[in-house]
Amino acid sequence: MEALAISLVNAVPLLAGVPLWTVTLLLMVAVAAVILVFALTFEGVGSLVLRKVAGDIQARIGPNRVGPNGMLQFLADGVKLVLKEDIIPANADRLLFKLAPYFVFVGSFAAFVVVPFGVGLIAADLNIGIYYVMAVTSLVVIGVLLAGWASNNKWALLGGMRAAAQIVSYEIPVGMALIPAVLIAGSLSLQDIVRSQGGLLGIFGWNLFHNPFTFFSFFLYFTAAQAETNQTPFDLPEAESELVSGYNVEYSGIRFGLFFLAEFGDMFIVAALATACFLGGWNVPFFHVGTLPWIWGNLLSLGVFLTKAFAMVLIMMWVRWTLPRLRVDQLMRMSWKYLVPLTFVNLLGVSLWLLVFRGKGIPGMIASLFG
């Protein structure tokens, strides 16, 4: 960011007198605003697509009244959420009730910072990228727990407790399933991980096809991540049929909107991490994006990344509308008795593979056979 600020100061003579840190700060705010706009747009359109997909899968039509073919439904929803009365229950803990949605939203939105949208499009290429995502999303747990408690409602409390137990449990398999990608790249930075999957192998350069263990790792990650974001087969915290709507049952208006946005934000983060760690990120097959002019390279890589990420989101929705909800004990059993051991075995397998074959994947070995 500072490098960008320096180049900006050099390019625009008007900024010469301004201290560098001011320019950097303003740039940071601008970038944050851009990402926020992207996130909000994604969340709006995502909610519409979610409902449309739900309609298609359930042999219905879905929203089709607002705008052509229901395309503007999300705007109507957004306006409704903003304009709705913000009700705080009389016996709620007012301070915590107001604070909780912000924790959830910040925890979800902060993860956008390290999403590698393109070859040069990343808000901050932290060298602890993946670890940072794991860390900031843990803020969501606190928010959800506090929301459940502050509502002074037994359903909300149950939902909050379930959500926390679930997120804490599934953080382990999510992290363990992502480590193979880190091991292959030798870095926690998401940009480095994406770059490690580039090259001329095309889609066979992806970590998904690196070796059998990474292949399984991807599916393990996807399952666990789906659970960590409280998506439907694992949406026990919200379980409409038993908990009304869980921890956010007492929330209305824009505070509910923040929970809602955070949920979709999490969805995108999961898809983006899956794309970056296993599906080659923004790499264009058989092609070095870096050789193109800056603007075209970024646009192309952005397109590739978003296509992959949105495809992953669609698959998440597809799973979401296919599977029925698990029971609490089944959920916990799945995490502790299936996903955790499997991810550990996988991690061991990947490590051994990298040790034995000196970091080479199957496609790489085949390629080297043919010179």
């Binding site: 899968i57 219905r60 499997l342």
Partner: protein
């Protein structure tokens, strides 16, 4: 749990998920699977023998009371008076369609096929009373009753006069039996004009009170 069962569990989870996702994908992709009917714009074809709202053709109705008796939830109420020609004349016929369960028993039992199911199924109202179908307006009932009572009275007077005329003829030529008949006719003629209209007048104010009190409230609201 053995290792084999453990692995079997995993395989089963993957296989069943894949199966389910194949099914949902088929639904998702195939537009023909959509079953939604966009109701106000699109309507379904009403099948033959569809049991919609009840309709009574009061012109053919004989006020036989069969429908009232057979109705299992007592949503039909009718009121009738005996007319001059000994046939029953309807003075009110109400169906509480909000209570009707469309069992069709009343239609089956109707001897003259005046009560029928129509194809109508749309009805919305803001007050419960509006769900009562009045086939004869409530305010018409006293008028009909009065008219019928008048007709009956006229007929009775006529009959009495005829009987009296007959009785006058009979004693000259007739037997003791004929005389007895004439006595009876006279007595009847004396009674009839007094009693019958009175009964009709007594019943008249009761008629609206019995069932459609709710209806009146609903009408007031409007």
């Amino acid at each position: 749990m053995g290792l084999k069962a453990y692995l079997n569990d995993i395989v089963e989870a993957v296989v069943t998920t894949a199966k389910g996702m194949r099914i949902t994908a088929r639904y998702g992709v195939d537009p023909k699977e959509e079953v939604t009917l966009q109701y106000p714009e699109e309507r379904w074809e009403i099948p033959k023998g569809y049991r919609g709202f009840l309709h009574n053709d009061i012109k053919t109705c004989t006020a036989c009371n069969m429908c009232v008796k057979v109705c299992p939830i007592d949503c039909i109420s009718l009121e009738s008076v005996r007319g001059a020609d000994k046939k029953m004349v309807l003075c009110s016929y109400d169906i509480n369609i909000g209570r009707c369960m469309y069992c069709g028993l009343c239609v089956e039992v109707c001897p003259v096929n005046s009560l029928l199911h129509t194809s109508g199924y749309e009805m919305a109202s803001v007050a419960l009373g509006e769900l009562i179908l009045h086939f004869i307006a409530a305010e018409d009932a006293p008028e009909i009753k009065a008219r019928v009572a008048r007709q009956v009275a006229e007929a009775a007077v006529k009959a009495a006069a005829q009987a009296a005329a007959k009785a006058a003829e009979v004693p000259s030529s007739g037997t003791a039996e004929a005389a007895k008949v004439a006595e009876a006719a006279k007595a009847e003629a004396a009674k009839a004009p007094v009693v019958e209209p009175k009964a009709a007048m007594e019943e008249a104010p009761q008629a609206p009170v019995s069932e459609p009190t709710v209806a009146k409230e609903g009408e007031k609201k409007e």
